[in-house]
């Protein structure tokens, strides 16, 4: 799949932002006044900024409001609802903490639940696709939620909660890679089933339908950089988990926490790049490509 920068930025930063909103919602930490303002400003910049980035890959972004209509069947529509619900609830919660130093715990828990619902709906957009076997697995929502909670805890300064979450996210990520590498082959979709010609013999793509490229090849058959996937996986693991986890074990220092957060966020960007670049769509089979 084409790793569009807008979609990578969206899933990474909105994951960070909604993760931070989750921890703020459950009162860990429970800042007031200017501190609260800064926390919520960061969370909204990440969450809303990510959502804005997601509209950049739309062909007709001016009609984005219509995406709220089909929540009964579409995970993308459900995501739109969950995201807006979170942002509205947490705006009230954040305003109360900032301007009146008042905690509204029930509202906070509702906002936290909406925040995680947003991350789950985002992940289900990918996990629902039978056409991309690598994504269609429990590890896709699990990873999105663990990474969001872990990064949120890191930004919220919740060191004790962050450590097990990051460790779990790293473990699930490694499992997702190892099991994902063979899932296309195990999915049962081959050039033989795609063309229905396997009963005659071995099928080989002889001529593509056109001399140039097309939307399908650009969107689904992305091969650039896949040969560096092994190296990028190591880099992502180091930045995302290898550097932040030892820092969290050290005595707390705000500067070190910032380094850990930046390193983790960069690691997640690399993870997401791989998430898209390594995903193979079954339509590639019609072109004899993966």
């Amino acid at each position: 799949m084409n790793p569009a920068p807008s979609v990578i930025a969206f899933t990474t930063f909105s994951g960070l932002g909604f993760g931070l909103l989750f921890w703020l919602g459950i009162g860990m930490p429970a800042p007031t006044g200017l501190t609260a303002f800064l926390y919520f400003a960061l969370a909204y910049a990440l969450a809303a900024g990510g959502l804005m980035a997601s509209t950049f890959h739309l062909g007709r972004p001016e009609r984005a409001i219509r995406a709220f209509t089909q929540w009964r069947t579409s995970w993308l529509s459900r995501e739109a609802w969950a995201a807006v619900a979170t942002l509205i609830v947490m705006a009230v919660f954040g305003a109360a903490a900032t301007f009146w130093a008042t905690a509204l715990p029930v509202l906070g828990w509702i906002g936290a639940a909406f925040a995680m619902a947003t991350v789950v709906t985002t992940s289900m957009i990918y996990a629902q696709l039978k056409t991309v076997p690598r994504w269609r697995h429990w590890s896709t929502p699990a990873l999105f939620v663990l990474l969001s909670l872990g990064a949120g805890a890191l930004l919220a300064g919740q060191t004790m909660a962050c450590l097990p979450l990051l460790a779990a996210a790293g473990t699930v990520q490694v499992h997702a890679w190892i099991s994902g590498d063979t899932r296309f082959a195990r999915s049962g979709t081959t050039m033989s089933t795609a063309t229905g010609l396997g009963g005659i013999g071995t099928v080989r793509a002889f001529e593509p339908p056109h001399t140039g490229t097309n939307f399908l090849l650009k969107e689904f058959v992305y091969v650039v950089g896949r040969r560096h996937a092994g190296r990028l996986r190591i880099i992502a693991l180091l930045l995302g988990f290898g550097i932040p986890i030892p820092i969290l074990v050290l005595p707390a220092s705000p500067w070190l926490l910032i380094i850990a957060a930046l390193s983790h966020a960069t690691g997640v960007l690399v993870l997401r790049w791989l998430f898209f670049a390594q995903a193979e769509h079954v339509v590639g089979l019609y072109y004899g490509k993966r």
């Binding site: 799949m1 890959h57 739309l58 062909g59 007709r60 972004p61 009609r63 984005a64 219509r66 995406a67 709220f68 209509t69 089909q70 009964r72 069947t73 579409s74 995970w75 993308l76 529509s77 739109a80 957009i125 629902q128 696709l129 039978k130 056409t131 991309v132 999915s187 049962g188 979709t189 089933t193 795609a194 063309t195 229905g196 010609l197 009963g199 005659i200 013999g201 071995t202 099928v203 080989r204 793509a205 002889f206 001529e207 593509p208 339908p209 056109h210 001399t211 140039g212 490229t213 097309n214 939307f215 399908l216 969107e219 689904f220 769509h281 079954v282 339509v283 019609y286 072109y287």
Partner: protein, 253 residues
């Protein structure tokens, strides 16, 4: 609405004969011609006369080489467009309701006024039947020429999809695959028509007819290798010319 109809009264679709298709791409051209000036926005091209042309097509013809265990390889031309699936995954993922499946005839369409161009339907389609038009930013797909098949302004013989009307080898058939008595259903039953990627669970309406078995040519020339060659060397005038030329200086080839 992106909820699929529980059942459609008819299942209009295509039957494509892989035995008869000659890979001429006439269906691709007629499809682009009809659909660029009728239903919805035009099918745009990018850099059409430059070094890297590309464009939106609703129908494309692939060619495959199939190598049996024994015997010669076969070349099979393979036209592919929207299969108007009964369980269309492209419809349910649509966040805006732009993608829909008609309850009356099963045709899957895009309401381009409501499409935000998110491409999720193209991601959900295993067949590559949907392409985002790069000029209009909306999703394009086969309409089964919905603006021809019911069009009473056209002569009756033209009320079929443009690809079917134009196919010079009769490899494309159009009809109601929900009616077991229809010509297309009978053809599918007789020729063993099959689904593409049945394991994806999309229940495509369009069917493909497999290439017929190739007959094996009988060995008719078993004695030919034992026959005398007609001529070992030239005689008469040609023989004299051959000798005369060889006598001249220079090399034989």
């Amino acid at each position: 609405m992106t909820e699929l109809p529980f059942a459609t009264t008819r299942k209009l679709g295509l039957v494509i004969d892989l035995d008869t298709c000659v890979g001429c791409h006439a269906c691709v051209v007629s499809c682009k011609g009809w659909n660029t000036e009728n239903y919805g926005v035009p099918l745009s091209d990018q850099d059409p006369f430059g070094a890297t042309p590309s464009g939106t097509f609703l129908n494309r013809v692939h060619s495959y080489e199939v190598q049996p265990d024994h015997g010669a390889a076969q070349l099979i031309h393979f036209p592919k467009s929207c299969l108007h699936c009964e369980d269309a995954p492209c419809v349910t993922v649509c966040p805006t309701g732009a993608s829909y499946k008609r309850a009356e005839d099963g045709i899957v369409l895009v309401n381009e006024e409501a499409c935000i161009g998110c491409s999720l339907c193209a991601w959900a389609c295993p067949y590559g039947a949907r392409e985002l038009d790069q000029a209009a930013g909306v999703m394009k797909k086969c309409t089964l020429c919905v603006d021809r098949i019911y069009n009473e302004n056209l002569p009756e013989e033209d009320r079929v999809p443009a690809c079917v009307r134009t196919c010079p080898s009769g490899a494309r058939h159009f009809g109601d695959l929900g009616d077991a008595e229809s010509d297309v259903s009978v053809l599918v039953a007789k020729r063993g028509g099959f689904d593409l990627m049945p394991e994806q669970g999309t229940k495509p309406v369009n069917k493909y007819l497999p290439p017929r078995l190739k007959d094996v040519a009988p060995q008719i020339d078993i004695l030919a290798p034992f026959l005398e060659p007609v001529s070992k060397g030239p005689k008469g005038f040609l023989g004299w010319l051959d000798r005369a030329l060889s006598a001249l200086p220079g090399e034989d080839r």
